[in-house]
């Protein structure tokens, strides 16, 4: 892993279009500002990890199924009731 030292308001670039700024440091907590293109998802790692585990769990718990597999039709969200 690449390790860099930065001071408050300094930043690093990842590729050409992702910039991470050190906004504030308070004891063991660091506040980061992230500038990234709108198409790039930015998450805390725990969130990704949690979803990864949830997906694995869904696979492990999937029940036995019977019947001939048919193509499911996907539909947009129904209009919310007024």
């Amino acid at each position: 892993m690449l390790v860099l030292s930065r001071k408050i308001n300094q930043s690093i670039m990842i590729g050409d279009d992702v910039r991470i700024v050190i906004v504030a440091v308070d004891r063991d907590q660091v506040k980061l500002g992230i500038e990234a293109p709108r198409a790039v998802p930015v998450h805390r790692s725990e969130v990704y990890e949690e979803i990864r585990r949830a997906n694995q769990e869904a696979l492990g718990a999937a029940p036995a199924a019977t019947g001939k597999p048919e193509k499911a039709t996907l539909r947009p969200r129904p209009k919310p009731p007024r």
Partner: protein, 154 residues
Amino acid sequence: MEEEQLTIDLPKFGPCTFTASEVLEFPWGLPGFATLHRWLPLNLDSHPTFVWLQSLDDPTVALPAVDPWMVFENYDPKLPAYAFTSLEIREATDFATLCVIVVTPNAEEMTINLMAPIIVNLRTHKGRQIMLDGSSYSPREPMPRKMPASSKSA
């Protein structure tokens, strides 16, 4: 022009016929299944309310999911901008939403992942699981009892 019928033998469901235009493409895979890009949405008689997301890259992987509004009428995910840009979604009618469920033998312990809906662009068939970081939705929301786990009368 008739589209060519393809067949795959699924360990969980048996033989399945499909066409290339029915395949969903997940360019980023799914968390936990990052290398699985091609998925087929399937219905099976035993669980008529489920949509099974069947991987075509690893036939042993099939995730059960549901349309979240069948379960939670007021579900209102605020999708982040990257969901729309990366999937080229322009309008609300452009996409479908599925939420992965964890099915337990005890129906009362079933949960649904409302925090990370799977969004599928219905025009391009591209999909992605979107994390609602910072929302109050849970990845393990208990399913309400009205959701039939395996009844045919849904």
